[in-house]
Each structure stands twice: as structure tokens, then as C-alpha cells.
Subunit: 417 residues, 2 copies
């Protein structure tokens, strides 16, 4: 995309009323816009990043057999009453329609998915089955100050699994854990993310959170370096030691909860009377699990972790564009910088490289500052100086080393670094 | 996808409380599920169709310079008060947060996009610019009985254009009309869709709707066969003749409004003080247009039009899968039907063909009925009878002719019909 056509502009001004680092830098770089506390618009650059994260999540959920659907945000009061959560789920946004019908805005979708899958699944032959959506969720948070880390409106992938037995659920639960770590790897969060024990409800001793270490994280976790897992605050207050190895030397760290998975057992299948017929013709409760991950929160987390004083440093697979192509001195009619850069822009795109092309008629300093702020992985510079050597200058955002590369070799270079 | 793994099942039962044809057949075929009146979930088959329609819309909006963003559903009361629509836009769902903040659920997004673009666009050099989203919209309809044609929650593409002058808006407005007809062509609705004059507000004499003829349509339009345009009910009640050629012999038809475009002029730029600096340094109001189209409503409209007594007949580009591969007698261990069909399934997928593979161990009648109900464009049948001739039977959903095709030639055949 030509930056001269991109409608957003970067700004040096810190946004008013925005205390979180991720929102400050994402707003300054033109990725998001704040509509109200905890409610953001995703602008062209931000929308691209958000969609890339969603697609990674989608691919990994498809890889473990997930079938994608899309459930509504308007969820009827009756469904929440069936599970006794209309009054007890304290972050529900509630509203009333013209026909007096009452709704909650979906904060999670057990109340919708359970009766839905019940209409299609009857026998052990139909199980297990795995259904997910990537959709907007709403939580009526009293305070929302952490940018994309805790929104009132945010994106969520929620997968629900349905099984004939606890053993079958346990097996899939492990598979889902692995899929989650693949997602964090592709999002550049693997090294800092811990599987974290959390309270499990009536059916299971523990549920699991995925917590990413970050200095601005809202959660406190306790890492057991023996087991390479963490324990959340709730659990640690009960028992003070690692539940797996009794290690007492736990390391307290701030972290962001980027995902959580939970064995629901038969809680929701009992509430909705969702039973299956087993091989002997007997009716049994379906056993369920749920698996959440927040793409918009992951986006905020990446920004909290991958940055320097000049801006964002996007991991390659998440970046809005792989290459930020910059042409200098393109105002002057006396040089062919613009023609050379235009040709390179076309060539890179033909090779399938996503390019943000800074063809604006502004100074070099502003272009460099914007490239650092926006944070694409590779900067390619075309200037009178580089063209004298029939070359361009290539620099990775995460390195200080610049390299002159012959203009004919640029495409291969891009694919190799 | 293997149909044995698809969690949804078809049903012969007419859904309760569902009077619209499109919802009845989409529910029976497992494309959607009704959550409450006017509120549906999109199941795997339906989600695929819905996403295909969205992608067509996306491609055509990108082709006319649209930049994709994503705005929230929670929109603050203050924005609607600025435009005097908090009380006057009568289908707003309203709700209040834990901090007493009041919101409307976005029914349209002029109130969000105008202050947003104002933050980035300052000069005539930044104009024109075109910004769109594909997002969920909410309308607090008193009655919602038309399935996907009039939902309380539905998908919408809304593009907003920003210009220095009325002339520039007019030029883009024509370009958008052309893009819309490309969308309707790709969705199989071109022949039945009329550009329709509607009332235009303060800035323009007319706005334009796109109305698709359909016997279950909720709107009445009046077609002028001289001009090949239509006039909506509101306009015709005022003047009884074609406003373009004064033709009095207009043909009344039922239709579904599948899109609408509107010259907003400076209504919203005035409300939000969105001005630009022209070439002489003078401040002027930005001139705006808006362009709506509903992917979920288009999905319902396609079903209303492309069907027969046995089910849906999806246009090729919209179908959940291009090919419905059916294997018969795959229960018997004595034939190699299953192995042959499995191999063909792999081969078709390797060739990039989207295949729904009915590998279930059920009777032929049920498989044929499901294929007709679900409505993929091409049915490929593998049976003991066809395999005797090293062949499969190929039939288009929209034709009664079956053709024996050599099993080696199937891929080429699929690409040629």
C-alpha cells in the first residue's frame, strides 16, 4: 500500500486519557482509535494485524478439528437464567428490546452453543466434536484502563469441545494446550508465556491460564522453575507451594492472561438437558470443555513486549506489512529515485511481499521515525546515495545493522532474512 | 470436508416459529440456527457462505480504493447527541454500563467514522479518501419475521467517502454504483436487481437503493422499463411517474432492498466540525457519502431466489463447497467404492476444489436429498454402478442432466462446467 494513500497519520502527541503503553503507541502509530474507555476502532494498519492474529488462531483451531461458526452478540435472558448466570455473571451488559425482550451482550457463549449443538448431536457416533468462533465479546467492566488488554468490547476465539467421557475430554484438552503454544510461538510470545494453574470449578481441580510475562501485566503469577509452569494468585493464596512438586521457591512476576482453557464437565449439558445415547442405548450427559483466546488482547500484549523507545517491533508473521519501503528525495524532478522505487514496489508485490511504500513528499527524518514507530520487520531504503551503487539499503527493525543490497537482489534478500 | 465430521445435520422438520422461506430452508439444511427473533447463529456451512459474500464485497470495495477498518458496536451516547440522532433514530438498542455510561449498539457508523477520519485528514491533499468496514449491526426492530432479510443483528458493509466537493462525491458515487452491480453479479442477483430512486435528504434530491425482485420481498418498487430503473414507494406516492422520462406505465413488483447509497453532503462534517484546508488556505466542510450493503441479507436473498422444491441452488461463487462428492454402498466391505471415493476426495482437494464429501454410512436416498437441500453447484457420485465403467456421475444442481465422466477426467470436468 502507498503510504500517501493511507488515510491515517502518525502523531508524536501522547493521546489524552490513555495511560496504557500499548494503546498509547498503537494510537500514535495509527493502528487504533479510542472511541470510549475500553472501546477501540481498528484502523487499516491495526485491522491488518488483528486479522493476522485471528488467522493464526483460526489455522491452529482448524488443525485440531475445530469447525468454525459465528454466534450472535444478542443473547436472550432465558438462556442465562437456565444456567443461573443472569444475576451471577457480574460483567454482563444487559438491554431490553422494543418488544420488551431482554438480552445480554455475549460475554461468553456456553449459553448459546450448548442448546445449539444439542440440536445436532444425539449419539456417541456424533462425538467428540469441536466448534469455535472468532467474534466480538462484551464485558461491562467498571474500569477499563489497560488499552487492548482489558476492553469492554474485544475479540475472542472461543472453542467448545463435546465428549462422551472425561478421558476423551482430557485427551483433547492436552491437544488444545499444544495448539495454544503454537499460536503463542507464531505471535512471538512463546518464550514469555507460562501454562498457569488456576481454580477449576466443580468438575476439575484446576483450569489453565496462559500468562505472558509483561511489566504492565495486571495479573500476578508465581513461577515454579522446576516444573516450568506458573500458579495464579488465587491458587497460591491457598497453598503457597507448587502443586506439582511442592517447590516453595516460586518467583513472582507480573503477567497478562492471553488465554484460558477450562474443563466444564457436565455443568452446561445438565442445565440444557444435553445427553447422548451411548453404545448400549443409555442416555448420558455430554462432557464439555471450553478454550478461550483473545486476538485483540494478544495484539496489545505483543506491543507491550516487542518495542523500543522508537516504537513497535512486530514479529514477522503479525506485522501489518513485511517491508516498509522508503524513497528519499522523491520531490526533486532531477533524480529518478521515484521511478526506481515505484518499480521496486511493483516487483516486491509481484513476488508476494506485503509492502507499505512511503512515497510521501516529506523529509527523511519523518520517514525514518514513522518506519520505527509503525514497526514493520524490514526497512528498504531507496535514495540517491544507494542508487549510485545500483543498490538499496536493507535493515531489520530489530537490528541496528544496515546492509547495501544490489537492487536486483532485493527480493531474494527479503525472503532470506 | 467429510460430512461424517460436520457436526450439523439436516432435518425435514419445518422449524417452529419461522415463517420466512429463507430461514426455514437455511435452518433445515444446517446453515443457520435461530437464537431469538431476528437473531441467528451461522453454522459451518452458513459461515462459509457468509464469509464468501463478505469477501466478494471486500474485493469490490478494495477495487474502488476502500481502506478496511473495524469500528466497535458500543457507540457512546454523546456521539449520537452531536448529530441529534440519540432520540430520533428509532431503532437504536440502548444500554448503560457499570460506570453509568450510556451507549447505543451501532446501527450505522457516521457518528464514529466522522470524528475518527477528522483526526487524520486536514488538507485537500488528504482527500478524497474511502473507508469501510464489514461488521455486525444492531437494529431494535419491533417485529423480525423475515429470517436473514430483516434481522435485529446482521452483518453490514458500510463504506464512507470523504471529498473536497460535490463534483468529486458525484464521481465516486457513480463508481460505487458500478462496484455494487459487480457484487450483485458475483452473487447471482444481477438480473433481478434494480437501481432504485429513493428520497435523498437535505443534500440530494434522491438517494439510491438496490432492490432485488423477490416474491417474498417486503418492499414495493415501481419499475420503469424505458429507463431500466425503479422508483421506491415513498417517491412514487409523491409523483406517480418515472422522474427520469415521465413514463406513467410503471410495473409494481415486490423486492428486497439489498443495498443503499446516500449523498450525506456536509450534514455530519458540520455536526462534528470536520473541515479541510483548500488550496487557497481556506477552511471548508468535508463532503461525505455513505454506501451500505448487507452480506447476511444478500445470503437470505440468494436463497429466496435460487431454489427449487428440493432445496437451495447456490451460485458457484457463493456455495459453501463447489462439489458435493457422494459415495454409495460404502458400508459394504466387499466393494472398493470407499477407497476410490477417498482417493477422488484427496485429488479434488489437491486441485484446489472445495469438496463436501458425503462419506456417511447411510442410504442413497438420504444422501441425494441432502445434496439437493444443501445445494452445492456440482454433485459427483461414486457407486458400484459408475465404477464398473471406471467413471463417476457428474450432475449440476441447476440441471437435470447427469453425465458419466471417466474417473481420471473428473478434475478437468469440474473446472469446465
Amino acid at each position: 500500500m502507498r503510504q500517501s494513500e493511507l488515510f491515517t497519520k502518525t502523531t508524536k502527541e501522547l493521546p489524552k486519557d490513555e495511560t496504557s503503553f500499548n494503546a498509547q503507541v498503537l494510537i500514535r502509530a495509527g493502528f487504533i482509535d479510542k472511541v470510549s474507555a475500553g472501546v477501540y476502532s481498528f484502523l487499516p494498519l491495526g485491522h491488518r494485524v488483528h486479522e493476522k492474529i485471528k488467522n493464526i488462531v483460526r489455522e491452529e483451531m482448524n488443525a485440531i478439528g475445530g469447525q468454525e461458526i459465528f454466534m450472535p452478540a444478542l443473547t436472550p435472558k432465558e438462556a442465562w437464567e437456565t444456567t443461573d448466570r443472569w444475576e451471577n455473571f457480574n460483567v454482563l451488559f444487559k438491554l431490553t428490546g422494543a418488544d420488551k425482550k431482554e438480552y445480554a451482550l455475549g460475554a461468553t457463549h456456553e449459553e448459546i452453543i450448548t442448546p445449539l449443538v444439542k440440536k445436532h448431536v444425539f449419539s456417541y457416533k456424533d462425538l467428540p466434536t469441536f466448534v469455535y468462533q472468532i467474534q466480538t465479546k462484551f464485558r461491562n467492566e467498571l474500569r477499563a484502563k489497560a488499552g487492548l488488554l482489558r476492553g469492554r468490547e474485544f475479540s475472542m476465539k472461543d472453542l467448545y469441545s463435546f465428549h462422551t467421557s472425561e478421558e476423551d475430554l482430557n485427551e483433547y484438552y492436552k491437544l488444545a494446550q499444544k495448539a495454544y503454544f503454537k499460536i503463542f510461538e507464531r505471535c512471538g510470545l512463546l518464550d514469555l508465556t507460562y501454562l498457569t494453574l488456576a481454580s477449576g470449578g466443580a468438575f476439575s481441580k484446576y483450569s489453565h491460564e496462559f500468562q505472558t510475562l509483561a511489566k504492565n501485566g495486571e495479573d500476578l503469577i508465581h513461577i515454579c522453575e522446576n516444573c516450568n509452569i506458573a500458579i495464579n494468585k488465587e491458587i497460591i493464596e491457598e497453598q503457597k507451594v507448587c502443586p506439582t512438586c511442592d517447590n516453595k521457591k516460586l518467583v513472582e512476576e507480573k503477567a497478562i492472561e492471553v488465554g484460558n482453557i477450562f474443563k466444564l464437565g457436565n455443568k452446561f449439558s445438565k442445565d440444557f438437558g444435553f445427553r447422548y445415547t451411548d453404545e448400549d442405548g443409555e442416555k448420558k450427559d455430554v462432557v464439555m470443555g471450553c478454550y478461550g483466546i483473545g486476538p485483540s488482547r494478544i495484539m496489545g500484549t505483543i506491543v507491550e513486549i516487542h518495542n523500543d523507545k522508537n516504537g513497535i517491533i512486530w514479529p514477522d508473521e503479525i506485522a501489518p506489512f513485511k517491508v516498509h519501503l522508503i524513497v528519499l528525495d522523491n520531490r526533486q524532478q532531477t533524480t529518478d529515485n521515484k521511478e526506481k522505487a515505484d518499480a521496486l514496489y511493483e516487483k516486491l508485490q509481484e513476488a508476494g511481499v506485503e509492502v507499505l511504500y512511503d512515497d510521501r513528499e516529506i523529509g527523511a527524518g519523518e520517514k525514518f521515525a514513522d518506519a520505527d514507530l509503525i514497526g514493520c520487520p524490514i526497512r528498504v531504503l531507496v535514495s540517491a546515495k544507494t542508487l549510485k551503487k545500483d543498490s538499496v539499503e536493507v535493515k531489520r527493525r530489530d537490528s541496528d545493522e544496515e546492509e547495501l543490497v544490489g537492487i536486483r537482489d532485493v527480493v531474494n534478500k527479503i525472503f532470506s532474512i
